[in-house]
């Protein structure tokens, strides 16, 4: 099974870290990542830019693009893409295509990445033994 682990924290607090603190946290996380990468169990790793850098395309309202992150609580995060685009307009064009392909409600938040490492998953991924006996 592949799992996505989504990182939540206060961006005010994290944004306040000094470069040294930031580097120290990243180094500690990096050693966890390195352990997983060594056995080919680490997929893509990304760090997002702050929410203030985001725009959101709303499917329902003629693909209206609004500034800022997706802030509704009625909908849940169901998936994500990482796309390589020359600029924001190109990324919005991709989101527009996605919205045409899947027009039923919801939104696409478009947030630039600060850090991206593609990672590499091994062929022989550990599979969970299915058991109903606990």
């Amino acid at each position: 099974m592949l799992y996505a682990i989504l990182c939540y924290n206060s961006e005010d607090v994290v944004g306040d870290w000094s470069p040294a603190e930031d580097a120290a946290v990243m180094a500690r996380l990096g050693s966890v990542e390195a352990g997983l990468a060594a056995v080919h169990r680490l997929g893509a790793v990304a760090r997002l830019l702050p929410t203030t850098a985001a725009v959101t395309l709303r499917k329902a309202r003629d693909h209206l693009v609004i500034d800022g992150p997706f802030a509704e609580t009625k909908e849940q995060l169901l998936g994500f893409y990482v796309v390589d685009c020359g600029d924001l307009d190109a990324a919005i064009a991709v989101a527009h295509d996605l919205a045409v392909a899947n027009p039923d409600r919801g939104a696409y938040e478009i947030r630039p990445l600060a850090v991206y490492r593609p990672g590499g998953l091994g062929e022989a991924r550990p599979r969970r033994a299915v058991s109903t006996r606990g």
């Binding site: 005010d12 306040d16 203030t52 850098a53 609004i66 800022g68 307009d89 630039p112």
Partner: protein
């Protein structure tokens, strides 16, 4: 988050982050700056006790507002035993139910509260540096000591300045109603200018001052981000934030180990902060979509041209010249023309640039950068004696040790080449 890892640093950062919104909301309740500040202070002390025990609240800002308000109301009630009952009009929202409070802390309220708090710091009677000092004290919550160090004055002198400034603000008619659309725009542009002032106080620091003053750049970026979160659709707020990020990204390369200025073209670009640059560029992209460029956005675009160039010689000066042309239209000033002349000197040569700045001589006769650039252009044209006169004038007009040192670099070069 588990209780065990709520450390003092986390709480400190959370309190700092919550401060502008919390003080702003408390100001709306009490309509008195000192009461609002004391209430917030009180709430912070309670947070330091309660949060490590109970874990942090889901919404620290709402918690601080609620607790701060109750604490201040308690204070008012207690003092009422020995004094006449407090003026009811001091307390504007007694009827607020606690549950309703959280609902009311929606974007609209935060937005106008914080904007009001920032706006009152920009009182037109206050000189620019005092506006900055007051904003740093009230909005950012820096201690008087920190601000005094940032402005290179004694603590008691700064204390007096801030007290006097706050008295002025207190005596002024603070507009508590929700601002209309036009008024909100005006307040926003006044506040944006003040945030840029805070940044420049930090940015103009050099060398040894950098330790104390450099933090002002970080405070300004924090304020700009706050404005951006409150006004996510304002292209000029995006532009301002981008401008600050793109300039501050170069901070690690702007001074050498001895604290001397390193010119832009000589900076080690690998030291520039790539993440800040990426964020600044992303904000420019967002702002450009609105198709009504303002002065901050154009300045950000100029900073971006520098930041994008991997080597100094890759700088797209023709594009920078065009952008300065736009800026001359949007916000004409001799200083903008002076800056444009730098780009012109790269694109069309020093002669053209010199011609461009000659008409500015009377307006900029007291301006350090005018003589710095003039000296540089004359030097490039081989007019060394005139260059030396200009450089000497520049040094005499330098505002900081860093500026003077910067010109001395040119003078040294001039002397070296004359000798060689």
């Amino acid at each position: 988050m588990t209780i065990a890892n709520i450390d003092a640093a986390w709480i400190d950062a959370a309190l700092t982050a919550a401060r502008p919104q919390a003080v702003a909301a408390l100001l709306r309740y009490f309509r008195d700056l000192d009461t609002a500040e004391e209430a917030f202070q009180d709430a912070c002390l309670r947070a330091l006790k309660a949060w490590p025990k109970n874990g942090p609240p889901r919404d620290p800002t709402a918690w601080l507002i609620l607790v701060g308000r109750n604490a201040a109301l308690d204070g008012v009630r207690k003092s009422s035993k020995s004094a006449p009952l407090p003026a009811e009009e001091l307390i504007s929202d007694l009827e607020d139910a606690e549950a309703a409070l959280v609902d009311r802390l929606d974007g609209e309220h935060y937005r106008d509260d914080v904007l009001r708090l920032l706006f009152i710091c920009c009182h037109p009677d206050l000189p620019a540096t005092q506006q900055v000092a007051v904003a740093l004290r009230i909005v950012s919550g820096l201690s008087v000591r920190q601000i005094a160090r940032a402005f290179l004055v004694g603590e008691s002198a700064m204390e007096q300045r801030i007290t006097r400034a706050k008295a002025r603000i207190g005596a002024a008619d603070v507009p508590f109603g929700a601002p209309g659309l036009e008024e909100r725009e005006q307040r926003l542009s006044t506040v944006a200018a003040m945030v840029y002032l805070v940044f420049n106080e930090g940015y103009s620091a050099g060398g040894k001052e950098l330790l104390t003053r450099g933090s002002l750049c970080g405070e300004a970026i924090r304020l700009a981000r706050l404005l951006l979160r409150l006004f996510p659709g304002e292209p000029e707020v995006m532009g301002l934030t981008a401008l600050l990020l793109l300039q501050h990204a170069r901070a690690p390369a702007r001074f050498d180990a001895d604290g001397a200025v390193v010119l832009l073209e000589e900076q080690d670009r690998s030291l520039w902060n790539g993440r800040m640059i990426a964020e600044g560029l992303a904000l420019i992209d967002k702002a450009v979509r609105h198709r009504r460029p303002g002065p901050y956005l154009v300045q950000a675009a100029i900073a971006a041209e520098h930041d994008r160039a991997e080597r100094a010689e890759d700088t797209n000066w023709a594009r920078i010249d065009l952008l300065y042309g736009d800026l001359e239209q949007l916000a004409p000033s001799p200083v903008v023309t002076l800056n444009r002349a730098v780009a012109v000197s790269k694109v069309a040569g020093p002669e053209a640039a010199l011609e461009m700045i000659e008409p500015l001589a009377s307006k900029l006769s007291g301006y350090f950068h005018f003589f710095g650039l003039r000296g540089g252009l004359l030097f490039q044209l081989g007019r060394r004696d005139e260059a030396k006169v200009a450089f000497d004038l520049a040094i005499a007009l330098a505002n900081t040790a860093a500026e003077a040192a910067h010109i001395r670099l040119h003078l040294d070069r001039l002397l070296k080449e004359s000798a060689g």
